[in-house]
Every structure is written in C-alpha cells, then in structure tokens.
C-alpha cells in the first residue's frame, strides 16, 4: 500500500468512525436481526446476487447467504455499511438498514458482482 493509499484508508476509517458517532442508527451490521424486524434474503449464487435489486422498508434486516462453492465478500460501495468477512459456502451476513437510501454493494473479490438495496 502506498503512503497515499494508507492515508486514504486511515481517512476512510476516520470518516466511518465519525459517521458512526454521528448516527449510530443509520446501519447496523449483525448476523442476527433485531426482534420483530422483517428479514429479507439475498442469495449469492453463480457469481451473482439474487435478487440483484431489492427494495425494503426502513428498518429492514437484509441477510445475504452464499450458495456458491466460491467465497464472496459483501462490500458497500462508498462504505455506507460494514463489509462482511469472507463468506464461505452457506455462510450468511446480515445488515439492518434504518435509514432510507440506495445502497450499492459488490463482492470485493469478484467486483463484477454488483447489487443494490433500496431502503424506502
């Protein structure tokens, strides 16, 4: 990593920390959904997110499950929510979206895989 890239990474981290401090309720990344919250599923299959675009109400909990033999990593474009760890076959990752908006995400190791969560 170059000094510039390192600085950029540190800055990104600082911004994320700052954002978390400002608005904790925007997005919460967690494996288990809060009680009483509706859960929406996104399957990762054949190197694609299904559904590719998903519209959910504010406060919804979205769970990605990897159905491929290959690992995948759910990563928010613009770091609007925390990335998953490497999801091996059958691994899941959940995020609660408490703020309306369009959240584009991709697989950081297969970046041609792109999906969108629209929170209304």
């Amino acid at each position: 990593m170059t000094a510039v890239a390192a600085l950029r990474a540190v800055c990104t981290l600082m911004v994320m920390v700052a954002l978390c401090g400002m608005d904790r309720s925007a997005v919460a990344a967690d494996a288990s959904p809060p009680k009483g919250v509706k859960v929406y599923q996104v399957d990762i299959r054949n190197f694609a997110f299904a559904p590719k675009a998903l519209t959910v109400p504010q406060g919804a909990h979205v769970v990605w499950t990897n159905r491929d033999e290959e690992p995948h990593v759910v990563t928010s474009a613009g770091s609007l929510f925390a990335s998953s760890k490497a999801l091996d076959t059958s691994d899941s990752y959940g995020v609660t979206f408490s703020k309306p908006g369009t959240y584009t995400y991709y697989c950081s190791i297969h970046p041609m895989m792109v999906g969108t969560i629209i929170v209304q």
Partner: protein, 313 residues
C-alpha cells in the same frame, strides 16, 4: 499417466497423480530471449539443454479449499513441488502467480509456507490473488511473501539479461470493475521500464489476466491497456497470469499472454456454465478421465508449447 482410460477407477493415488500432472505448473525455458513453455514433468532434459535458464510458474494453490473436485489441495501442491525438484536442470526460481490461499486465513498462509519450505524449491517470487487479500488488503500476504521494494508491493528484478516485473491487480477493486493496477503502479511501471533497451526480454506477471480474456466473469484488468502500451516497444514480452485455472494463450504483436493452470482445481472454459466456480459437476472418476485427457494431449501430443498463436485450452 499412460493408459489412464484403462484405469478409470484407479483410486486416490491415481487421482492425485493425475492432478499433479494436470495442474503441476509450467516450466519456462528462456532461449535466446524468447520464452518457451512446457508442462512440468514432461521430460524436459533434452529441450532444456539449450535454454539459458529456466523457471517454473505455479498458480492458484487455494490452500484451505476442501470441496469437490479436490479434497486435498495441499497434497496436489506437494506433488507439483516434487516435480520441480525432479527437473534435470534446476530452475532459477519459482513464480507463484497468486491465490496461494482460499480465504486469506493465517493458518492457510502457514500451510502454504510450510509446504514451500518443506519442498526446498529455492527462491520463490509471489504476487497475491484476490483470495489472498480478503479483509486486510493483503497485509498478511505482504508481511509474509512481499518483496518490499515498493510500498504498493509491486517489484522487478533481473535474471540472465531478462527483466521480470511482478504486478498487483487484485487490490482497490471497484464495484462492477475488473482487476486494477491503479495510477501509482502504472507510473512506477512506466519508470521502471524507461531505462531499458527495447531488445531486453521482458516477463511481466500478475494474478488476474492482463488482457480482456472474459470480462463478464471478471477475467481481465480494467487498466491493463495502459500497462501494455508501455510494453509494446520491446521485442520479446511474455505476460504470465493465473486466476482462471486453465491454460489460455494469445499473441498480440510482440506480446505473448499465457494463463497457468491451478495446482488445486480446474475452472470451466470462458462462458461455459453459469459462472467461474470450481469445475465440480463431474464425479471424481469422470474428473480423472477429463484431466487425464487434457494431460495426455499436452504432455504427449505437444513436445514443447512454443510461443505461438495457438489457443491451448
């Protein structure tokens, strides 16, 4: 390997033998500034004689993978490394073109290191695959296997009058994109090559293909065209990649592109099937035969894979 069809159920030993043959690696012979490829273990003592030096490329060992069609990727890597030591003349070094591990886990890196040390194959140069940089942007990979020439991890070195360049195209990938070199690395590459005479043979290696091999499966690098523009003034350029677990070869002017097989498992040819995952739709027995056929063709049908415009798949 001979009569493989007569022993379709030869068991694990036979299977591993096939895997080693199929995915062992490539012996590269440098002859008068032009690279000649040969599958490792093809009986190279004769053809290696007039080479000024040789090196071996292995790729995609995916330590940590434990599913069909290969439950023991450590064993198939070990077999590949044994073939390196079985060469008549000792290769100058080994290149590992990435995806050492499956999930970038410390214990997977440990296993890979242990296997490499145990095999005593000598100097080994590594570049990371996307599987080696998960979660930490490659920090663990670079700590263990980095050359530490440049902050970004890319590097170059000279061997026998040939200039070798190791590039990194699996970091800072953007949504919807392919592999990426980035402006810092491109600037360095331009500068690194600037002082070289055009008759200097070049070997450039990176994990993901440096040409648009099959972009819809992510088999390419977004800014490779810029890098290639720096290479075109040279008379002999070889670009070696991994990532796609199969041999694909192509010539563009003085640049020859080559992708290596995996020591772990094959992937389907471009566009065949729903995605580029492990080729596991075949049973273990069928895989034997499949890999066996591929081997026999390459090992016995072709004496040496010279640099030609033939597509080998």
């Amino acid at each position: 390997m001979q009569d493989i069809h007569d022993h379709p159920a030869g068991g694990r030993r036979q299977f591993l033998k096939c895997m080693a043959w199929a995915g062992a690696g490539t012996l590269w012979l440098m002859k008068s500034g032009v690279l000649h490829a040969q599958p490792l273990g093809a009986g190279t003592s004769g053809t290696a004689k007039d080479a000024s030096f040789s090196f071996v490329q292995i790729s995609d060992s995916h330590i940590g993978f434990h599913k069909a069609p290969n439950m023991d990727v450590a064993a198939t890597l070990r077999q590949s490394l044994a073939l390196i030591n079985a060469q008549g003349s000792r290769p100058a070094f080994v290149l590992h073109t990435g995806d050492l591990t499956h999930l970038s886990k410390p214990e997977e890196f440990d296993t890979l290191s242990g296997l490499m040390q145990e095999a005593h194959v000598g100097r080994t140069f590594y570049v990371p695959g996307e599987h080696d940089v998960i979660g930490d942007n490659g920090a663990e990979f670079f700590r263990r296997f980095g050359e530490r020439q440049q902050a970004g991890g890319w590097y170059s070195f000279d061997q026998g009058g040939v200039h070798f360049v190791g590039l990194i195209n699996v970091l800072n990938l953007r949504a919807g994109g392919l592999g990426s070199l980035g402006v810092d690395q491109l600037a360095w590459l331009k500068n690194d090559l600037a002082g070289l005479s055009p008759d200097t043979p070049l070997v450039v290696f990176a994990h993901m293909p440096l040409w648009p091999l099959y972009p819809s499966w992510g088999w390419g690098t977004d800014d490779s065209a810029e890098a290639l523009s720096y290479l075109r003034r040279f008379g002999s350029v070889s670009v070696l990649n991994g990532h796609i677990h199969q041999i694909q070869q192509k010539v563009e002017g003085t640049i020859t592109f080559y992708t290596a097989r995996s020591t772990a498992y094959p992937q389907p040819p471009p566009g065949v099937g729903p995605g580029p995952g492990p080729l596991q739709s075949v049973t273990a027995d069928a895989l034997h035969r499949y890999l066996g056929i591929r081997d026999v063709r390459h090992v016995r049908g072709v004496d040496a894979l010279a640099v030609t415009d033939e597509v080998l798949s």
